[in-house]
Symmetry: C2
Subunit: 342 residues, 2 copies
Amino acid sequence: MKYIKNSFKGLKPYHSSLITDGIILNANESPYNPPKVIIEEFKKEVEKIEFNRYPDMDERELCHSIAKRFNVNDNNVTIGVGSDELLDCVFRAVIDNGDKVVSFSPSFSMYKVFTELVGGEFVGVYGDDFKFNVDDMISSIKNNNPKLVLICLPNNPTGGFLSEKDVRRIIETTSGLVLLDLAYIDFSGYDYTNIALEYDNVISFRTFSKAMSLPSIRCGYAISRDFNIDMINSIKAPYSVTTMSQIMARIANDHFNLYKVQIDLIISERERLYNNLLNLGFKVYPSKANFIFVIMNDKYFDILLENKIYIRKFKENTYRITVGSQKENDTLIEVLKCAKQN
Amino acid sequence: MKYIKNSFKGLKPYHSSLITDGIILNANESPYNPPKVIIEEFKKEVEKIEFNRYPDMDERELCHSIAKRFNVNDNNVTIGVGSDELLDCVFRAVIDNGDKVVSFSPSFSMYKVFTELVGGEFVGVYGDDFKFNVDDMISSIKNNNPKLVLICLPNNPTGGFLSEKDVRRIIETTSGLVLLDLAYIDFSGYDYTNIALEYDNVISFRTFSKAMSLPSIRCGYAISRDFNIDMINSIKAPYSVTTMSQIMARIANDHFNLYKVQIDLIISERERLYNNLLNLGFKVYPSKANFIFVIMNDKYFDILLENKIYIRKFKENTYRITVGSQKENDTLIEVLKCAKQN
């Protein structure tokens, strides 16, 4: 990569293998397609699309649909290619060389990547045994005076969660912007989205990729006070969200209630999987998301792989297992049970 | 926007009005939907999509289809959310604070935006009467030693073009990277894409948004030597191109020949529109693209607007008119003719 700038010399192109066969529990995807009604409505809309026209760059219909759901104004919402694009926009807008970004660690790995891409300095706040330590977070904010504070709730990959009171404590400690990444919040039984409207310094990020079963359309959104939304929109690439994604997301959002059955099923499967993994003697962490963080010997990972069951490895003996369908979870448990007995 | 960094304080969120009624000749869109066969094949594929899975982040099938068309290897191709995303990746990868970027001017306005977003310095090379001046470009390269040289062929918004010999002269003068933006090349009767494979320092950018009639899916691609493709892939956000866009683009690319009729029609309409505008006494520039650059009094713009005909204004008395369908062009000519007579 002879033309890349010096500070990026260490970067490597990231590839991931495309798995099309087996049980895929490594990407926190829902095991279910969206409800049929949504797909059918979408197919009817496809007939009417003028493919030869650019998408609506302001995603008006989708913003309006989301604003209605959260009872905010249309100008409190903006749409991106996954919430990733919007997070990236905030990093680009706010972080100058050497500015600090504070996040609990481990958390979503892209926070560090986004920080480094804009020359910021990433500070991770590690808790004992992978738990959130709010006091340490508050000390770190006081010591580092960060421009951005990242909080992923429930946390990816640990599944950890915070009370609303703790979230507010953090927000009220910092003069920087707090980014609430709520990608998995629908699995928690709570919703912190609208906290963002109560403060100047909070942006909530949500996505269609998890509980809404639509990672294929790459669509996320941010909710905040209008000047923060304006800031994102002044950095965001025009026309980044495709016409079909806007339409599909709008239909899904309008039918949000139809997802309840799927979400409840995933939550109850999560609890069942948790108990089974616990009974098998693995170290398991309580989770409010659609995945479970597990400490287990690497040999079990290899055995799962041999059985075409794909889970996510973080480091030695440290894994994240996405909650699959009942049948998929049964197979996973069965394979681990057999492995334990041998 | 209280949290935005100082260097971005002047930025404003960019909005564009959504026009749904009238004759839209302001965005260089094709007046035609893609050929029916393509839409029908796509609809069959929708039935099989697992919407609950992330897209293939390496866009393997689409890269392979494109590589086949241009007779290059799969690792000479990468896909983006429009060629814009890929251009942006190169700017982010290459430009450090104060680095120079040289481009003919006027050209695609995003080059300057991308430069400023990463703290680079943009140098425009202006020719007399909106024409390319290759000698001045070469002097500017020698004087400025730019990290990036942008060449848009045919040029947006002027429609200007360069011989292959001139393109090579520029490439061989600079030690920086040359970005050949070929968004409109299919309307020129030439193809410079594969020049990128002959040099270390050239990347060609193409898009499905223009001749392929698919701006709605936001899909572009870059072709270059593998290390330049690796560089883009190491910056590019993972999973940015949706599953549906990958599928639609792959089908369209496989059926590239079906577009010939549409493209030929647009080219012949361009020539007819050019002659008509010339005969009406406007100053018109020869174009190799699907638009025409025109100097005309602002009052004609107002009259067109009153008739719901939308063209693109650049500055006082300076416009770009996209070539529409035969009927749309007829209406435009008729309105201008009437206006001239009054």
